[in-house]
């Protein structure tokens, strides 16, 4: 009997605890904002930009530790600079449009 009462009390506490957020009145900040398509696109561009910048950093490390030759280094730096510039230009264009 005592065990059943204890169990009932535990159940009551659990129900109160999990239902409490739903019982209170809805506030203005209760809306979860999903990402818009624009935000998704811009995030993808920022990721692309960051990948290119990170690659440039790694190229510097690879060169300093003698993992990459001068010619490869020069070619790859040019490629990644162009990639980063393209992403940044696209982001700027989006900002201007906004």
């Amino acid at each position: 009997m005592l065990a059943a009462i204890l169990l009932a009390l535990i159940a009551l506490a659990v129900v109160t605890f999990i239902a409490w957020p739903l019982v209170r009145a809805q506030g203005e900040d209760d809306q979860l904002d999903p990402l818009s398509d624009d935000q998704r696109r811009r995030l993808a561009l920022r990721e692309e930009r960051d990948l290119a910048l990170q690659a440039l950093n790694e190229l510097d490390v690879d060169r300093a530790t003698n993992h990459i030759g001068d010619q490869d280094y020069a070619e790859l730096v040019a490629e990644y600079r162009a990639q980063a510039a393209k992403a940044i230009a696209a982001l700027d264009a989006e900002d201007d449009a906004a």
């Binding site: 059943a4 535990i10 659990v14 957020p21 979860l32 990721e47 530790t65 003698n66 490869d72 790859l76």
Partner: protein, 663 residues
């Protein structure tokens, strides 16, 4: 008390279903209140599982044999420390431990990724609640720890093999690894459900995968040491299905940890990475299924129930769910770039992935083959050690080689001229080591020579990486050598932590090769005063000793050991008879010398006339196997340690978009 325990588990199951539902509502209805309620649900599950744990442990420690599980896995004479290990000695107890760890990890996982997750959090809670619900269902229906009975006078006792200090650490470590994989899995599924397949889930899940992978690795090593010192057959890895159960998710998680670097740098392998993490988690469920369904006959799978079907359904849900989500989100998972050259670091990672997954499949085949033959032909045909050894050599040696090649090749591409410079010393190291091994007569095992040469190649590679990096910092930043070395590691913990893990793997391989390819063994029936020679050691039998322990009686052979005429000491290999459990166990005797290896002695039997049958092994450099664990753990800790620079970089990207980022 059993009523409260069972009631708490039923309540926890209902709350898990509720949390899954409310988090789904929060994700689709965009209502934060439902998200908070679902999060409270995870806290409630945690509290309820702790209540169940407390009641279960109380029953174990008070010898309350009205609980069937308690009487099945313990006895009044069982030493107190093994009452704790009895927790996971039973199917129900181990599933309760699974649920407890999952409840804790769910809360920690949410907390550690709270700032990353805008849209992902409700989906993540939903997936975690479903996983929790699955394990709670097992505890409520087919494997309840709270089944009661009329109390017997005493319990059956615990399997003697589990009465070992390693059993206090080995199973929990594996469970931490198995359960930990639920967090990256839930993040990956959440990312796809929310349509957010950018690198955030990867960054958020990497440390959890690393930690889980580390626990699995350490758990396997502890298990290997337990098998070595306790099971008493002379080896450390028997390709037991339960050992394989931990190895498979570890191999797949290893592949993930490497391929994820390619995704972070090049935006490639997105589908592959999600498939890998889903595969690793599915294999962790499969591993639990193997150990707990009783489907396999092994020392671990000692309980047989109908729980297997539940596991099959759960496993199917994980695999089908992941597959459907990948198909649905395929357009978002397209690669941003392509591999530029086959001679690049990303290409070596790709080869490494193929080998790791291939090896995992080979092990999986070895595990399921006996089941398939039994299902089809009614006769179980097992796969023996040579099958596994073939694949370990065929896949393992190239993998080891790639561990040395990868760091020497730059990302994107490498020129022949550059490769000649970077490969020179490591190749020399490998060739010289191979030549020295042959010169010292170690060509009795060519795989051994190959492994030794490759280990030297990898070691020189790693040392040269530390030297090059330190020299570059010293030269470019003008730092002193020690400061440059410390900054080198601190600024790129993941890379250099990874190298330390690789050193641990090399050390492990050397230990494993020494203990298997180059071990010597001897056996003989010895009368008092007679000797047995193994390697340079001579064992002289001096008599039999008897001893009585708390729940066993033991007999051991007294063997005086000399090496090259010099006395080393006395070894006492023995056998224990457990009265209550009505079983016996071997107690091996090991003489360890760090510089030379182990003299490992087994008492195989005592004849009525007092003669003893002795089996002895000499295992050179076997201790490197265990020491490797420290390097492995150190490297993992270094990798897992939070890197504020990385966090700031990600936070900046999301702050620019006015989204909550990691801080």
């Amino acid at each position: 008390m059993a009523l409260i325990g069972q009631g708490a588990l039923i309540l926890a199951l209902l709350v898990a279903i509720y949390s899954a539902g409310t988090s789904l509502w929060a994700a689709t209805g965009h209502d934060r209140r439902f998200l908070v309620s679902a999060r409270h649900g995870l806290w409630a599950i945690f509290g309820l599982v702790i209540v169940a744990d407390a009641i279960f442990l109380r029953a174990l420690f008070t010898h309350d044999f009205t609980f069937k599980v308690v009487s099945d896995t313990s006895s009044r004479s069982l030493p107190t420390v093994y009452l704790i290990t009895a927790w996971w000695g039973s199917q129900a107890g181990s599933l309760l431990l699974w649920s407890t760890v999952l409840a804790i990890f769910s809360l920690l996982g949410l907390r550690s990724t709270r700032r990353v997750l805008g849209e992902l959090q409700p989906w993540m809670i939903m997936v975690l609640s479903l996983i929790s619900g699955f394990f709670l269902l097992l505890l409520v229906v087919p494997a309840s720890p709270f089944v009661t009975q009329i109390a017997p006078v005493d319990g059956v006792g615990l399997n003697p093999s589990l009465q070992n200090p390693y059993m206090a650490l080995h199973p929990p470590s594996l469970y931490l690894g198995y359960v930990g994989l639920a967090i990256p899995f839930s993040l990956a599924m959440a990312a796809m459900l929310a349509g957010r397949t950018d690198a955030r889930w990867v960054v958020a899940s990497r440390r959890w995968t690393l930690a889980s992978w580390g626990f699995l690795g350490i758990g396997m090593l502890l298990g290997a040491h337990w098998a070595y010192t306790e099971v008493g057959w002379g080896g450390f890895w028997a390709w037991d299905p339960v050992e394989n159960a931990a190895l498979m998710p570890w191999l797949v998680a290893t592949a993930f940890l490497h391929s994820v670097m390619v995704q972070e740098r090049k935006g490639m392998l997105k589908v592959w990475n999600i498939a890998l993490i889903a595969g690793a988690f599915a294999l962790s469920i499969f591993g639990t299924f193997l150990t707990r369904s009783g489907i396999l006959s092994s020392i671990h799978a000692f309980v047989a129930t109908d729980i297997g079907w539940y596991f099959m359904v759960g496993l199917g849900a994980v695999l089908v769910g992941a597959f459907v989500l990948i198909l649905w989100r395929l357009p978002l998972l397209r690669a941003d770039q392509r591999i530029e050259s086959l001679v690049s670091r990303e290409a070596t990672f790709l080869f490494n992935n193929l080998l790791l997954v291939g090896l995992a499949f080979a092990v999986l085949w070895g595990v399921v083959f006996p089941l398939l033959t039994e299902a089809v032909g009614q006769v179980r045909e097992s796969v023996s050690t040579p099958f596994y050894e073939f694949f370990v050599i065929a896949f393992g040696l190239p993998l080891l080689l790639l561990m040395g090649i990868g760091p020497l090749i730059a990302w994107r591409r490498a020129s022949f001229r550059q490769l000649r410079t970077t490969f020179l010393w490591p190749v020399l190291g490998g060739v010289i080591t191979g030549a020295v091994m042959v010169a010292f007569g170690l060509d009795s095992s060519w795989p051994g020579v190959a492994a030794g040469s490759i280990c030297a190649f990898v070691t020189v590679t790693i040392i040269s990486e530390f030297v090059r990096g330190t020299a570059a910092r010293h030269r470019v930043a003008g730092e002193s050598w020690p400061i440059a070395f410390l900054h080198l590691i601190d600024r790129n913990r993941r890379r250099y932590g990874g190298y330390i893990v690789h050193l641990g793997v090399v050390m492990f391989v050397i230990g494993a090769v020494g203990a298997s390819a180059y071990q010597t063994e001897a056996e003989g029936l010895l009368q008092k005063g007679e000797s047995l020679t193994v390697g340079s050691n001579v064992l002289t039998f001096e008599g039999v000793e008897r001893e009585r322990g708390p729940n066993y009686s033991a007999r051991s052979a007294v063997l005086r050991v000399t090496s090259d005429g010099e006395e080393i000491g006395v070894l006492r290999p023995g056998q224990r008879a457990y009265t209550r459990e009505q079983t016996t166990s071997n107690e091996v005797a090991i003489n360890t010398t760090l510089t030379q290896g182990d003299l490992f002695v087994i008492l195989d039997g005592i004849r009525a006339d007092g003669a003893v049958k002795i089996k002895a092994f000499y295992k050179p450099v076997v201790n490197l196997l265990w020491l490797a664990g420290f390097l492995f753990a150190g490297g993992v800790i270094l990798c897992v340690w939070p890197d504020p620079r990385e966090r700031r970089r990600i936070a900046k990207r999301y702050a620019e978009e006015s989204l909550p980022g990691e801080s």
